[in-house]
């Protein structure tokens, strides 16, 4: 199948049949996970959930307050794939309040399914979810593998 989760050094990435995701670091060292491609296989959670668990563990260990979840290059996500984001929010809910962090979804205005799909996820995740919609494609900012050293805040 070719689906896999791997830790390349301390970087986390996952690759499914038609999608991939990788945790990167923004300009100020903030964590960011970029999803690319199309999540449309019958059971993407098989490979996505272990990735989510690994990212969650790192964020908790580094006391992150937020991670950007970048959907700019995610063409589509079926409901089976969406369950992995529900699963992620469940992991956050199980944490003591002081350890919880936010999922900041970055959606593309041009990928119009994202707007309504993320509305529902916002309703489910409450204050643990925020949405930013960009009208352009991916912002031109350099990214590095994450963690890039030092606790996130």
């Amino acid at each position: 199948m070719g689906d896999s989760v791997e830790g390349r050094g301390s970087t986390l990435r996952v690759a499914g049949e038609k999608f991939s995701a990788e945790v990167l670091s923004g300009l100020r060292g903030e964590p960011r996970v970029e999803f690319r491609g199309t999540i449309s296989s019958s059971n993407p959670a098989e490979v996505l959930n272990p990735f989510v668990e690994a990212v969650h563990a790192q964020l908790v260990a580094r006391r992150a307050s937020e991670i950007s979840v970048d959907f700019l290059d995610l063409e589509f996500c079926n409901s089976s794939g969406f369950k992995s984001f529900v699963f992620w929010l469940e992991q956050i809910r199980r944490l003591p309040e002081a350890q919880r962090y936010r999922l900041r979804f970055i959606s593309s205005a041009g990928r119009r399914w994202q707007r309504v799909s993320l509305l529902a996820l916002t309703s489910f995740g409450g204050e643990n979810v925020t949405i930013e919609t960009l009208s352009t494609s991916r912002p031109a900012c350099p990214v590095r593998p994450w963690p890039a050293g030092g606790a996130q805040s």
Binding site: K18, T38, S40, S42, N43, A45, N49, F76, N78, S79, S80, F82, K83, S84, V86, F87, E90, R112, W113, R115, V116, S117, L119, A120, T122, S123, F124, I131
Partner: protein
Amino acid sequence: MAETSTTPVPARLSMRMRPPWPFIDDVRRFVETLGACTCGGEDRDAQVAMAVHELMQNALAHAAGDDVELDLEIDPGRDRIEITVTNPCSDEAYEQLGARVERMNREPDALAWYLRCMEELPGRSRGGLGLARLRFEAQLEVTLRRGRTGRVAVCAAGKVRAPPLEVGGFNG
């Protein structure tokens, strides 16, 4: 000089596939293009494409390699979208699906039902969100009927000009 008619023309698509899984993304993209030509503005084409994808994905899970049929009609004149996906289905699976759809339709608030499914379905379980998703996100009502011998037709229908969704200060 000939007059140009402005009467909206219905778009119809019928497909029979075996097995359609490798092509499900292509079908979704095609439906979105078709919808863009017939649904007008807003995001209706993307919502219809998503609904077709979810219905086909459900059908595939029960088709056991047999044919899956898709019938789609978008009629701006009647302000009506109808999607029907037909697949083989055992009596037991039909009863289970019928009970699920009945429970879903008893809840008048589509978002409330969708959120309940998110709460109740274990994150590690397979499937279960598709019908709730298309009912809320695409604003389509879901019904079932027993088709030809051993087949089930799942129908999703609603308005072409659906109102924008609003949830807790956000809008879609």
